[in-house]
């Protein structure tokens, strides 16, 4: 790892001011993405700002939505009675992220900030129409994810929480990459008052995306069979040694069916 300094932020304002004061400052949440990257010298930072004492963790029921603080660990979401009751699919999603050690450390804020194209959470945000709260604004999930590892966040912007509207029903089904166990295809299906949303992670060349065709079919009939006729265009999907685009397209259909069946 390149040399760096480490400091804990007292609160969000402190984190922002430390970020502004550093050349290449980086927020440190659960470290499960950032530390491996730093360790392998794939990234460097002159200043790591630890958010663990910034008061950003915790889950609350806001009536129509569940608000999860940015520093809430995956394990907390996985085991939260509140989440399990209101959005069980979200607890289930969290329980399938990485392994126990990763879930003990990794945070929702870190995951959402990183927007790894194979990460699980982004699909939940998109399908549930979540809102990303930051130190300065609220960003609708639909506007937030802007490409692979790309988000609408400014350089020195800090995610404070994510709010998930409670759906009528939802389910996430992940087909893991056999090696990394991140999503090779992950499909989050949500049924809300405004219709069905299908968000796909792990597969898109531009990261997480919603699939209009699948949504249309499910809006007309919410059943696994109804998507048999939907063609999933593989030209926008990733193709790599783990899975070609056409296989990913096939898996999107299969995972969607499973998610619908589990809703």
């Amino acid at each position: 790892m390149y040399a760096t300094t480490y400091a804990k932020a007292k609160d969000v304002a402190d984190a922002v001011s430390q970020l502004k004061g550093a050349d290449e400052g980086k927020l440190l949440a659960g470290g499960q993405t950032l530390i491996p990257t730093l360790k392998q010298r794939l990234a460097s930072s002159d200043c790591l700002i630890d958010l663990s004492d910034a008061g950003l963790s915790g889950i609350s029921d806001e009536g129509g939505s569940i608000r999860i603080g940015a520093m809430t660990r995956h394990v907390e979401v996985e085991t939260s009675e509140m989440v399990k009751k209101a959005i069980p699919a979200l607890a289930a999603l969290a329980s399938g992220i990485g392994d126990r050690q990763v879930r003990n450390c990794g945070t929702i804020g870190g995951s959402v900030a990183n927007n790894d194209p194979s990460a699980c959470y982004p699909s939940a945000l998109l399908a549930l129409g979540a809102t990303v709260h930051t130190d300065r604004r609220d960003i609708a999930a639909g506007d937030y994810f802007t490409g692979m590892f790309e988000t609408a966040l400014d350089e020195d912007e800090v995610i404070t929480a994510v709010s998930f509207p409670k759906p009528e029903a939802a389910s996430y089904v992940k087909f893991p990459n056999p090696a990394s166990r991140y999503a090779m295809v992950g499909v989050f299906v949500a049924k809300t008052s405004s219709g069905v949303a299908v968000a796909v992670t792990g597969a898109g060349q531009d990261g997480v995306f919603r699939h209009g065709g699948l949504e249309a079919a499910l809006n007309s009939s919410f059943s696994a069979e109804s998507i048999d006729s939907v063609a999933v265009d593989d030209s926008v999907l990733m193709s790599d040694m783990h899975a070609s685009a056409d296989y990913r397209a096939h898996l999107i259909t299969q995972m969607t069916k499973r998610a619908v069946a589990a809703c």
Binding site: M1, Y2, A3, Q40, R41, F175, P178, A179, S180, M241, H242, A243, S244, Y247, H250, L251, Q254
Partner: protein, 794 residues
């Protein structure tokens, strides 16, 4: 039995003596060792597959803070330091010698694979070394990569010494007789079988700590090695060119090897060389990426197989043409693995009158390929067992029955194969029967039907394997190009108080020698197992040894110990006879006591030990005092473990996911010293084989970049990829070693891959799939189902 010696001898599942240190965190692996004032080495590796080196500028790096030295290949060459050598070379079929292009420790003139060592930075901290390494400017002139073994021959030349990229072109067996047999066969089954390339991945990465003692003019190297004596021999004689006695090699606790820690790599040699140059200890520890890029890979064969059958479906002949990818450089066993350890096993457990094989070892711009758990035998077993299964399907015969009618009959032993080996003993049908019973083969049909109702394809696959263990004997391997002897040594030292130290040349890196070897001694001497210490892994303490690989430790190393113990008993008898004033011929030794037949006279083992060192009443006319014996054991033959593994899978056609739902293994390892340890070896071997068959693959792109260079992309089997395993045994005791043992370390890895693939093909046969390559990834399976269904619809 004397007190404290119950349930500890041969055949008992004694809990391992070595466990305590490991479960309490007190193991001592190489990276746990630190020397005062040590420096850290960091190697700069090539990031391209093939290039001429135009210039290396180390000036900026050398000036970095904390940097003590930066060396390149020129510095190594200037000191006349040699590179790794090949320990066993076959002869080409035209009688010429194979090509052995040099392998400089640090590249000279050219780099030949991604990961090739270009330079080393030695600094006061690893961070400083790594930081400085980024300042080295390397000017390369890229050349085309050569990745695919099938097209390597005659492709872009990689070594000046080798114009066609062929290291060797070797044959075994009778080509004409085989051609005749195939020509006269009722049917000839043809199949191309590819054995994918895998990466060993011992969880402890390789490491080395080297130091130089100026006063004694002597080096000490701590290294994560399977065979410290071989390391000492090669490093002293071929690399450093120093007297062997000036190099002390210690392989402390070693976190797995699987073949990859047999070889002597550039890193440990460079550290040793630099330790003297800099007069400071030098430490190097690989990270996982370096392990992927630098440790020898395994397998990587393409075979064209022809199997001839007569009208009764008995095999009449077999021809196998193999291209083996050996990578950019040769290493210790890279040439013997695809030849003598592979071609000689092509008869499997079958009676095959005519066999011929041609193997071409080719050079590519990839990391070197060498023995990996099983070394040659998994390759032979895979192609043979895939072909057997394929053939059974072609002729419409049950695969178990087809194997059965072709097994070497029980009364045919010793059996001379058509490919040089003579199997001393075996009985293959009982293992097949038992395995079939264990997995309830008879009722497979109903399980398959039940799975079909759930929309799953269920399949069952067999693999009846044989292997040759205990690499030996020296006289034979010598005529076949081996440059070392393959015996093992043991010293059994009895202390005056009757405690025992056993010094063995074998090395344990997970196999449990401390326990198994102690059991042999405890059993033979009737002393408590806790009074026995097994010492290994240190060239200063052990006279000599060839290390641990090829499932040889017990059959060869264990037998050497047994023989040394026999000598101790013989000497003890002479002492006891003298003390009890009896005739030696009347002396018996049993349960730790020397007794005189027909009398109640007895002396305990401890009393005899004491009198050997306090020789007041002692046969001085016949013996020297002391009680320490050495034995070198050079076996007469290989040992031949064999057996049948059966795998049952269920496939989800919607995704291509394969679930291994059951596994039955019945192996014949001869006598078992510690069944618990044996079973553990089988489990581990099966997991590696399942990994190769379903998950693992070293993937190079056409530019020669290794795309699977971390666990993010190289798929290691994890606990949830595997089922619980059913293991049982049959026993035919090896006829030519004292213990009747055969070896069990590799069988699981040898038997398992074809069992998995045969099960998958069986499952998919409902849609018309006839073949599947390794690893059988979910995508491949999905595609095979699609393609077969589309074909059927045509």
């Amino acid at each position: 039995m004397p007190e404290g010696t119950m349930n500890q001898g041969i055949g008992a599942s004694v809990r391992r003596k070595e466990d305590k240190k490991f479960i309490t965190g007190k193991g001592r692996y190489t990276d746990d060792i630190n020397r005062n004032g040590q420096l850290y080495a960091y190697f700069i590796r090539s990031d391209v597959a093939h290039a001429n080196i135009k210039n290396i500028n180390v000036n900026a790096a050398a000036k970095c803070e904390g940097v003590v030295a930066v060396y390149t290949g020129e510095d190594i060459a200037a000191d006349g330091i040699g590179g790794p050598i090949c320990g066993w070379t076959p002869t080409n079929r035209d009688g010429s010698a194979p090509k052995e292009p040099p392998h400089p420790l640090l590249a000279v003139g050219k780099v030949r694979y991604v990961g090739d060592h270009i330079a080393v930075v030695i600094a006061e901290s690893l961070e400083a070394a790594q930081a400085a390494s980024e300042k080295i400017v390397i000017d390369l002139d890229n050349l085309p990569a050569v990745v695919d073994p099938a097209t390597a021959i005659g492709n872009t030349q990689i070594h000046d010494e080798m114009d066609d990229n062929v290291y060797f072109d070797w044959e075994l067996g009778d080509e004409t007789a085989t051609a005749d047999a195939l020509g006269g066969a009722d049917k000839v089954i043809e199949l191309t079988v590819t054995n994918n390339r895998v990466i060993p991945n011992a969880i402890e990465p390789r490491a080395a700590v080297a130091e130089y003692d100026e006063i004694e003019d002597r080096y000490t190297l701590y290294t994560s090695s399977q065979n410290p004596h071989l390391t000492r021999l090669v490093m002293a004689a071929f690399m450093m060119q120093i007297p062997e006695s000036k190099l002390h090699v210690v392989a402390p606790d070693v976190g797995g090897g699987f073949g990859s820690k047999i070889y002597i790599y550039p890193e440990e040699a460079v550290c040793t060389w630099a330790a003297k140059k800099l007069r400071k200890p030098v430490k190097w520890t690989a990270d996982r990426t370096q392990a992927f890029l630098g440790d020898a890979h395994g397998r990587d064969h393409v075979n064209k197989v022809k199997l001839g059958l007569d009208k009764n479906n008995k095999i009449v002949g077999l021809r196998v043409d193999t291209i083996a990818n050996l990578g950019a450089y040769l290493s210790a066993f890279s040439m013997v693995t695809p030849t003598y350890l592979h071609g000689t096993l092509l008869s499997g457990c079958y009676d095959i009158p005519a066999i011929y094989t041609n193997v071409k070892g080719v050079c590519t711009t990839t990391v070197n390929v060498d023995a990996y758990r099983g070394a040659g035998r998994p390759e032979a077993t895979y192609l043979l067992e895939r072909t057997m299964d394929y053939a059974a399907r072609q002729i419409g015969m049950d695969p178990a029955e087809f194997r059965r009618i072709n097994f070497i009959p029980k009364d045919a032993f010793p059996y001379q194969t058509a490919v040089a080996l003579q199997y001393d003993i075996g009985d293959y049908e009982p293992a097949l029967d038992k395995a079939m019973e264990m997995i309830d083969y008879a009722n497979f049909g109903s399980r398959q039907a039940e799975a079909a109702k759930r929309g799953k394809y269920r399949g069952i696959g067999l693999s009846s394997y044989i292997e040759a263990c205990g690499i030996a004997p020296s006289a034979v391997v010598g005529t076949l190009g081996a440059r070392v002897g393959l015996y093992e040594s043991a010293v059994v030292r009895v202390d005056p108080t009757g405690t025992i130290s056993v010094f063995t040349g074998a090395h344990s890196h997970g196999q449990g020698h401390d326990t198994t070897f102690a059991q042999i001694v405890a059993d033979k001497l009737g002393v408590p197992i806790d009074s026995i210490d097994i010492v290994h892994g240190d060239t200063d303490r052990i006279p000599f040894g060839m290390g641990t690989y090829g499932s040889r430790s017990l059959a060869v190393g264990g037998t050497a110990i047994s023989k040394a113990v026999d000598k101790v008993i013989e000497k003890g008898k002479i002492i006891a006879a003298h003390m009890m004033e009896a005739a030696e011929t009347d002396l018996e030794f049993k349960d730790g006591k020397f007794t005189v037949a027909g009398t109640d006279k007895e002396k305990s083992f401890g009393e005899i030990a004491l009198s050997a060192y306090v020789p007041h009443n002692f046969p001085h006319d016949r013996l020297e005092p002391g009680l320490e014996e050495t034995a070198f054991y050079d076996p007469l033959n290989f040992t031949y473990p064999a057996g049948t593994h059966i795998c049952e899978v269920e496939i989800d056609p919607a995704t291509g996911v394969v679930d291994i739902v059951d596994w039955a293994a019945c192996d014949d390892f001869g006598n078992l010293i510690n069944p618990m340890i044996v079973e553990g070896q089988v489990h581990g071997g099966i997991a590696q084989g399942v990994g190769q068959a379903l998950l693992e693959n070293a993937h190079y792109n056409e530019d020669g970049q290794l795309l699977t260079a971390s666990y993010m992309d190289y798929c290691m089997p994890r606990a949830d990829n595997l089922p619980s395993l059913k293991i049982d045994y049959t026993v035919t005791a090896c006829t030519h070693n004292d213990l009747g043992v055969k070896g069990c370390g590799e069988a699981g890895a040898i038997a398992s891959p074809p069992a998995v693939i045969n099960a998958i093909v069986d499952a998919l046969s409902v849609v018309g799939v006839t073949d599947m390559s390794m690893p059988a990834t979910t995508e491949k399976i999905w595609r095979a189902i699609n393609d077969a269904t589309a074909k059927a619809a045509e």
